[in-house]
Symmetry: C2
Subunit: 655 residues, 2 copies
């Protein structure tokens, strides 16, 4: 007998060797390390922060909360949003309990939740800078205060902690915050007709709505989005009233309104402008709200911004942000590889955005980008030891250039201990520990399996899926579906863009030919057991960029499966990686290296290497044919660069 | 009867059509325009200065002098070195009288000299900022004050004015200044053991020594060079004593000591570091002093810095300065084309340096670089109308990039009316009006004719040389030597690096084969009349850069004679100049265009143009062979770009 099936995911266990390693790394190394940093117990060097703005001491993040809670004396230290380091860490820890229960850590996080509750004001307000040192300025300088951004991050953490541990206390802090915000902001005459300088609260309020079903939170999120930019002078008026010279963050007042996505109403914003992280958080908020309100103007904006970013403003690694000035997007096809920004947080935010778009629409392109971010642009933000981090992710770097050309001084060629503005490390940690939420999208009677990260997933009605793969190194994926109650549902499997036209699908051992619908093949399921195998195209691809991207003209990038490769000085004998010329017809040796860089597949590409010109020669001479010698150029996955001897790296190779 | 000849140049008239035009342009347009600007009588927009440091009003330069002279009330306005705009203008005007006597202008300049004399203190000091507003801080913050730099520029102007007009008044101002400096600086215990933050006074004092024969001025110049950097804390100590927070120019205190070439003694400085203009002024000063003192450590430093700049840190156009941060040199072979600086003043200064090196050593390479600067890097600093100027000279530019990528905001794609820091316009003007001093170098019984700019030159003993050419458009050069007293001397003619191995020399109608000695062929002269013809290689050269220069890998530049060419959007139908691919074997149509851009020779290069990719496509795709169509890429001389519709430009073309 068949029962009607509406998928509701109960639990996903990541079994992927690749990602289990990272999930364990976060538990074993990243969370303890970050906790010690936030408690000022780690010896770290934060001098290399590209945006430190004079913040050059330890974190003080826990101390700020203790001072606000009255447990300690002192002043606030750090950025106005210093609290968020703690909240993102708490969120990451919460997710980790779902795959790695940990009593010791739980004791710490329970105590932390109590500390946060103690720090929170009775009216729900919580932002330690303002409680400790600027009590008269609450909600008075939203361009720079990050108060809603900060509370948004707590709300995300509180919801996660509640969902995983059932902690009512953690949820109550969140609802008290949200209630405080709902009282203070809105269209009523006595409310603030405004919004935060840094989008975040919008997506957080929707998460809170999802667990509480309290319509006010969804409405509040919607209000912030619709209100944004309607009075382009809003921030300026607040700044003037608060006192122009009293900036909370130096130079923030000078950023253009587009930096804050507040120059005009979102419905009129045609392109994705300004600070890259703000943009993707805003987009995630818009998609989150649109999912429930079906507000077409928000959905349209999601599409506009998605296309603008993905088709015209994104690096092949998924990184975004072409300039260090304001950590911002610039303009279509302006994608310099050596002076770029490519903030880790912006890639993490793109993963959030992609996930939400998948919930809205079953289109493979969203999952393609999610995959790109997971295996490239965001993962490169952390070292293999879990204790060093990139804020900026360049596609071409050279330690000499970073040291001696000030236009590249923001580009590190080694991951740093920590940052004064420490947004990235915990952001990546929470993405990794919540990875199981990013593998399936459920809608009506359809399950979309859009990532090939091995896992065991349990759905309602006793349906379970055991997905086996050695992805991203192998493209062979096995889905074992167990459906004891013979439910009827559609199982959608993504055919990645990089495998279109070259894949093989078998159902119960029989080759299947199913037409692709917006990036997915849909398989009707009603048997009690079903085996699906998918073989993806793992051949090495020589990629070209649109010739509208000046920086990549005459260049080749190398991709295998979802993984973008790079050449690193550590594997090749020179910092002059531009001397290697790779032909589109080059031979490639694909090699599994189980001990290298925690286990990677390397590519040895046959290349021609130019002889380095004589240093004493006239640097400009009539062209003669170059002297080249056959050479081997070894490539490693981009995410794994800068884990050995510091040196040069480049993704785009000369042809 | 033959007499012994020691050449002493009396007069050179530029007859070159190309340069006469510029010399006349300076008289007719540039000098009147700049005079009106300095008198705040021109309507100019100075908002586009890449280094305006908040200086956003009119020049006020003449007003500052009038206030210092007690002729007007008010405060100083502008940079500490604002006076130098006036002095460089006066110097340019002085030189112009040697080819274009001008009573109206002479009335103005005589009055100006009187004003300067009135502004000068009795003790010789003259720097209007300090006289008007900071009388207690004279010589107390030399890192930033530019007092010696400012007086150096007057000394240059005063010497020039004296040499051309015989004005004793102008010279006396200069000697009073120099005496003031000699009293205040030196090794005595009561003197300042220091030097200016911006080298300039050194080369100026040598010019004064040359007209006065006063050894104290040469010694003072030598002292400044030897003292420089011996106490690396000198500037810091002065800043502290003067009050750290009282910076004369914002952020100057934060620049590294290498910015000022003051981190160590010059003899220990191995590479050319820091602010490009400071470096080349310092080099010119070192070469100027070495010419008379034969100080080997200074000569060695000249060679080190020359090689470092010319072989490893110079663009093919002769521009130097790879970063806008501190308008500075960066490191060997770091020569990005689109984020660079390439200040006009730095190219003008390289011409000064090259001229001095030629006086020290008869090597063609110095004259090669002088020629490169004249026809490319410095000349590009001025528009064809003489009223618009480049501070920054990029080799690749796009109005969109300059507008929307903050890392390129310093790169203008149109010449500006004027600058808050207006060093470049008058610097170029004085180079052009003194061009006749740059064509010959005399030593012992040798005349070096190292430039091919047509002129009539008169030497002592009635020797005259009529050099005829249509250079740089034609490579046919005729030297008619008249030597009525049958003096014996050597006539050295440079064979340019770009014509080595392909030139023809005829003496009195007979082909001559003379071996090249360090870039020159030497012809013994003792006849009363002699005709020498030289045919240089004017074929179009496809140039490659050293493959150590990452930015130019896989690229081609086009040169004909000394002129570097560029592709400009105005001639080609797209801003996407990177779509054109030029093969080293491309056909080129060389075309004289008498009406285009004041008369230029254009190059029509057969190229392949890629079809622009579809804007809606995925920007990264597996490589397929590009669709290209045969196309014509029109090139114009680099110096003439940005004189028509604003648009994209590039020197280095894709192969």
């Amino acid at each position: 007998m068949q029962t009607l099936f509406k998928p509701k995911l109960n639990h996903v266990d990541i079994t992927s060797k690749f990602w289990s390693h990272y999930q364990q790394l976060v538990v074993k190394e990243v969370l303890p390390y970050q906790w010690s940093v936030m408690n000022d117990e780690a010896s770290v060097d934060i001098s290399e922060d590209p945006q430190n703005n004079g913040i050059n001491k330890n974190s003080h993040a826990i101390a700020n909360l203790k001072i606000a809670a009255g447990q300690q004396k002192g002043h606030h230290y750090g950025f106005p949003f210093q609290d968020t380091d703690v909240y993102k860490w708490l969120e990451a820890a919460a997710y980790s309990f779902s795959y790695q229960p940990n009593n010791d850590l739980k004791t710490i996080t329970d105590t932390l939740v109590s500390l946060i509750a103690d720090a929170q004001e009775d009216n729900g307000y919580l932002s330690t800078l303002f409680q400790i040192d600027e009590p008269q300025r609450k909600f008075k300088r939203l361009q720079q205060s990050h108060e809603l951004y900060t509370m948004g991050h707590y709300i995300e953490a509180g919801v996660a902690y509640y969902q995983v541990t059932g902690s009512g206390k953690a949820l109550t802090i969140a609802t008290k915050m949200a209630d405080c915000i709902c009282r203070n902001f809105g269209a009523d005459p006595d409310q603030i007709h405004g919004y935060d300088g840094h989008p975040e609260i919008e997506l957080a309020l929707v998460k809170l709505y999802e667990v509480t079903n309290d319509q006010r939170y969804l409405d509040m999120a919607h209000y912030f989005l619709v209100e944004r930019g309607t009075d382009p002078d809003f921030f300026d008026k607040q700044n003037i009233a608060d006192g122009l010279e009293r900036d909370l963050i130096p130079n923030m007042r000078d950023m253009p309104r587009t930096y804050y996505q507040a120059d005009k109403p979102i419905k009129d914003q045609q392109t994705a402008e300004g600070h890259a992280v703000r943009v993707v958080y805003l987009c995630t908020g818009m998609a989150s709200v649109a999912l429930y309100t079906h507000d077409q103007t928000l959905l349209d904006a999601c599409h506009r911004f998605w296309n603008d970013i993905v088709k015209r403003r994104m690096y092949i690694t998924g990184n975004i942000g072409s300039t260090t000035t304001g950590e911002s997007l610039t303009y279509d096809y302006d994608l310099p590889n050596d002076t770029m920004y490519g903030e880790t947080c912006a890639s993490v935010g793109m993963a959030f955005f992609a996930k939400k778009m998948l919930q809205l629409e079953s289109k493979g392109e969203y999952a393609d980008i999610l995959e790109k971010e997971l295996f490239n642009g965001s993962l490169s933000g952390m070292s293999l030891d879990g204790k060093h981090f990139f804020y900026v992710n360049p596609l071409e770097a050279d330690p000499k250039a970073s040291a001696l050309n000030p236009g590249k001084s923001h580009v590190l060629t080694h991951r740093a201990d920590w940052f004064g503005c420490a947004c990235c490390p915990a952001n990546l940690a929470r993405l990794i520990t919540s990875l199981s939420d990013y593998l399936y999208t459920e809608k009506d009677n359809t399950i979309l399996a859009h990532q090939f990260i091995a896992n065991k997933a349990a759905f309602n009605n006793k349906v379970s899926i055991n997905q086996k793969s050695d992805f991203p190194w192998s493209g062979d994926v096995l889905f074992e579906i167990t459906n004891p109650e013979n439910c009827e549902f559609r199982f959608g499997i993504r055919i990645p863009q990089w495998s279109l036209g070259n894949y093989q699908l078998s159902i119960n051992g029989h080759l299947a030919s199913i037409s692709i619908d917006d990036g997915f093949v849909y398989i009707p399921v009603n048997e009690s057991k079903m085996t699906i195998t998918l073989s993806l195209d793992m051949s090495v691809k020589f990629m070209a960029a649109s010739n509208r991207i000046v920086a990549d003209q005459n260049k080749i990038a190398v991709q295998r499966g979802p993984v973008i490769y790079c050449a690193e000085e550590a594997d090749n004998h020179t910092s002059q990686l531009g001397l290697y010329h790779v032909s589109p017809k080059a031979n490639v040796l694909v090699k599994k290296e189980p001990t290298l860089l925690n286990g990677v597949t390397t590519l040895d590409v046959s290349a021609q290497e130019e002889e380095l010109t004589n240093a004493d020669d006239n640097p400009y001479q009539p062209l003669t044919s170059e002297k080249t010698i056959p050479a081997n150029l070894r490539l490693i996955p981009y995410y794994a660069w800068a884990n050995r001897t510091e040196g040069a790296m480049r993704v785009w190779l000369n042809r």
